[in-house]
């Protein structure tokens, strides 16, 4: 049973809570292929290794993007190596500061595109999200810690070189809300679609 989070600012008032098991399963079914597709489209095939915190998970680059909505709030993080970011970059990396700036921008854009794809899929399940601009972290050993949701284990992918891509999707749901596999939500335009009005 999910334990609702009680706000210390308003004792007795139940605030948002971690997703139920059914919703977690739906999220897992969505995140895995979307991630593989996104990196595959950028020339970097990934293999899904499962959901767990690897023993050694310190990475170099992290893209974080937040979201809010009537049904849920949270954030999505992509955590990976500089090499993965460079190899998936659709543009050649320049030398020096310009190149580093470009890579940081690209990992932010990756998180933006990943959440964008997920957002479009979630419409069908009755959830609407508004996305914030992405933020990038860049360091030597960047550890990501998810404090809120006990089930927010990262989705772990690996490349042919053995580098890892970790995806965290951390969400809190409005009490009573569940992703509904039978919802007749809106169908969205697909990635790459062009509409001329």
């Amino acid at each position: 049973m999910n334990t609702p989070l009680v706000s210390s600012a308003a004792p007795g008032r139940v605030t948002r809570q971690p997703p139920d098991q059914g919703s977690l399963e739906i999220l897992a079914e969505l995140v895995t292929p979307i991630t593989s597709e996104l990196f595959g489209n950028n020339g970097l095939p990934l293999v899904f290794d499962g959901r767990d915190e690897p023993e050694e998970s310190a990475q170099e680059m992290v893209g974080i993007i937040g979201f809010t909505g009537t049904e849920m709030t949270g954030n999505l993080m992509i955590s990976t190596s500089r090499d993965i970011v460079e190899r998936s970059n659709p543009l050649p990396t320049e030398q020096g500061i310009a190149g580093e700036v470009a890579l940081r921008d690209w990992v932010g854009e990756l998180s933006n595109q990943l959440l964008g794809r997920l957002k479009n899929k979630l419409l069908r399940y009755g959830a609407t999200l508004e996305m914030s601009p992405p933020v990038t972290l860049y360091g030597v050993r960047v550890h990501c810690v998810i404090p809120r949701s006990p089930d927010a284990k990262p989705f772990v992918f690996s490349s042919s070189s053995g580098d890892r891509v970790l995806i965290w999707f951390d969400a809190l749901f409005e009490p009573g809300f569940k992703l509904d596999a039978d919802a007749e939500g809106e169908a969205c335009q697909e990635e790459g679609d062009l509409l001329l009005f």
Partner: protein, 122 residues
């Protein structure tokens, strides 16, 4: 000198990627980093043929920028094509109603984008 296209996106990578595709097709490119910068560039850069614009941006969104540009003035007829991760029908309709000429869901296919730009700037 080719026709001039303004690319508005808060992502450096997307601006460069779109810009490269346009330049390879013979277009000149001007960049803006968000809706505020985009609106300023539209007002100040002469001879723009069209705008390619993201939706979710800091300071001013693409749709807010679109609405401001279409509200009146000499640039109200400038074609604006939205390029975004968003695919929600309601948002697409909002952009259409605000005067956008089209909508592309990222990632874009270069040949489709260039085909649309050539058609819209003909």
């Amino acid at each position: 000198m080719g026709k001039k296209v303004l690319v508005v996106d808060d992502s450096l990578t997307v601006r460069q990627q779109v810009g490269l595709a346009l330049q390879n097709a013979g277009f000149d490119v001007v960049e803006a980093v968000d809706g505020v910068d985009g609106e300023e560039k539209i007002a100040s850069v002469a001879d723009l043929s069209m705008v390619i614009c993201d939706v979710n941006m800091p300071r001013k969104s693409g749709i807010e920028m679109l609405e401001a540009v279409k509200a009146g003035g000499q640039n109200a007829k400038l074609p604006v094509l939205m390029l975004t991760t968003e695919g929600q029908p309601e948002l697409i309709q909002k952009a259409k109603k605000a005067g956008a000429v089209g909508w592309i869901v990222k990632p874009f296919k270069a040949d489709l984008l260039i085909g649309a730009v050539k058609k819209l700037t003909a």
